[in-house]
């Protein structure tokens, strides 16, 4: 047996935008075990619910993560609305889906860029982010913010989109899709990418189910699971099929994301065709009493929100289970047995968001 060495990976590492620390136990160049250590950016956001009113907490929930901010807000707001039995106008629900899918597009393109950067494909990284910039412009035009939107509120949304703006945005999105198509081709066909990601970080279907993987990581292991299938919000009026890949490696995980962007473009078009004129918010009276588990699908996977109200404007309890938190045990499984040089590519392949995980 070769000598065992422990190599620390992170919290500061060129491939990681956020701090996660892994102790990699190596035998020669092979990783035998990875021991995670998180908690560098814990902010105690969950306890803030006892100091901020439930309406202000939407702003805190949106700031849990800088990438899927809007969907965090939707998850929280959906929980409060169920507790208070609020009827949300249909237009507001469709607008939430519109911005949510736009978030998915920008998050996935961001990930594609970062993943290309992790394997040293700098030019592809730059081109991916050039395309993402066009999506951020649409966000700035419609909500006023580029990554933190503050567009969701309890009982509806804060901003409306006029018919003309919506039509113009749809034309703009056609252009984005055209640009994206060229980039996506590279992720599907390029020799470097296939060579680098195929058979790397394999997570079998059984392990993915057993360890509780979520989102694209789960779907790339051949399991058809998507929280949007629960038909929450306006998703009940939208047709789509989750994208599933069966090769279970890093390449499959990138393919799922590449295809999900096309799916999001399709859902946005359905939104545009099905959205009706009307109110964008309902009046909120009273305070929440009771508890609810709200589940929504983020770009990274399923996020669970637990809210418990006690009849005052402050909540009793607010708990978030984020997708990266669920994806860390599968990540450790993928790392066991891989080469040291593959570690960055595998860690990036679950799309880790540490600020989400540590809240």
């Amino acid at each position: 047996m070769a000598n065992r060495t422990i190599i620390p990976f992170g919290p500061q590492h060129p491939v990681l935008p956020e701090p996660i620390h892994l102790d990699l136990v190596l035998e020669d160049e092979k990783v035998v075990e990875a021991i995670p250590n998180v908690g560098f950016v814990h902010r105690g956001l969950e306890l803030l619910c006892q100091k901020k009113s439930f309406q202000d907490m939407v702003l805190v929930a949106e700031r849990i993560c800088g990438i899927c901010s809007l969907i965090h807000g939707v998850g929280f707001v959906q929980g409060i609305e169920k507790v208070m039995n609020l009827e949300v106008p249909e237009r507001a629900l469709f607008l939430r889906v519109f911005w949510g899918e736009l978030s998915r597009i920008h998050s996935h393109i961001l990930w594609l860029g970062l993943a290309a950067d992790a394997i040293g494909f700098e030019s592809l990284f730059m081109h991916s982010w050039r395309v993402r910039e066009m999506v951020l412009d649409i966000f700035e035009e419609t909500t006023g913010g580029r990554v933190i939107f503050d567009a969701v509120k309890v009982g509806g949304v804060r901003k409306d989109i006029s018919k003309e703006t919506f039509t113009r945005i749809m034309k703009q999105l056609d252009k984005v899709e055209e640009e994206y198509k060229q980039i996506a081709e590279v992720f599907i066909k390029d020799f470097t990418i296939i060579h680098r990601w195929s058979n790397v970080g394999v997570l079998s279907k059984e392990n993915a189910a057993k360890l509780g993987a979520v989102g694209p990581t789960l779907r790339a292991s051949g399991i058809k699971s998507d929280t949007r299938m629960l038909k929450y919000g306006a998703y009940e009026k939208i047709d789509f099929e989750p994208i599933v890949e069966h090769t279970c490696d890093c390449y499959a995980r990138s393919l799922v994301r590449v295809k999900e962007v096309y799916q999001s473009f399709d859902i946005i078009r359905q939104c545009y065709n099905k959205i009706s004129e009307g109110e964008i918010e309902t009046k909120v009276t009273g305070f929440p009493t009771g508890e609810f588990f709200s589940r929504v699908e983020q770009p990274r996977g399923e996020v669970i929100y637990y809210v418990k109200g006690n009849g005052t404007k402050f909540l009793d309890r607010f708990r978030v289970r984020t997708p990266t938190f669920a994806n860390i045990p599968p990540l450790l499984q993928m790392l066991a047995g891989c080469d040291l040089a593959d570690v960055p590519a595998i860690i990036i392949s679950i799309d880790p968001c540490i600020s989400c995980t540590e809240r």
Binding site: K52, E140, E141, G144, G145, D150, V186, D190, F191, H195
Partner: protein
């Protein structure tokens, strides 16, 4: 089928295109009507009702009704637009240009003219000290 030509095509075609960057300091930044840059106050319209300070989720705004002072801490402000929504006399507005960077965490102060007496009228029979 794997190839390297797809990426080569993108790289070569982008050589002929103009730069994708905005060249920011040379050309002015691009803003939209909704862009949230900073909160601006028009002191002439302000009636010192303190509603903005009460609605601010981060406590960035402070209003002193007796001295006629309206203050904002730009480092605390998260540009959520709540104060602008709550401002009845429309003294507050959201401007597109981002707030200027600062080396010190100063609090911006505006002096507002007090339009009505700040102290509550004293009820008959009560002394001024008790009120």
């Amino acid at each position: 089928m794997s190839d390297i030509l797809t990426m080569c095509k993108i790289v070569l075609s982008s050589l002929r295109k103009k730069t994708a960057c905005q060249m920011y300091p040379v050309k002015p930044a691009k803003f939209y009507k909704n862009s949230r840059g900073h909160i601006a106050l028009e002191p002439a319209k302000c009636i010192l009702c303190t509603l903005c300070a009460k609605r601010c989720p981060t406590g960035a705004i402070e209003v002193d009704r007796t001295k006629g002072v309206w203050q904002i801490n730009r480092f605390k402000c998260i540009l959520c637009n709540e104060c602008v929504h709550s401002c009845r006399p429309v003294a507050l507005s959201m401007e597109n240009q981002y707030a200027a960077p600062s080396a010190n965490k100063d609090i911006e102060t505006h002096n507002v003219e007090i339009k009505k007496p700040a102290a509550k009228p004293v009820a008959p029979g009560e002394s001024a000290e008790n009120s």
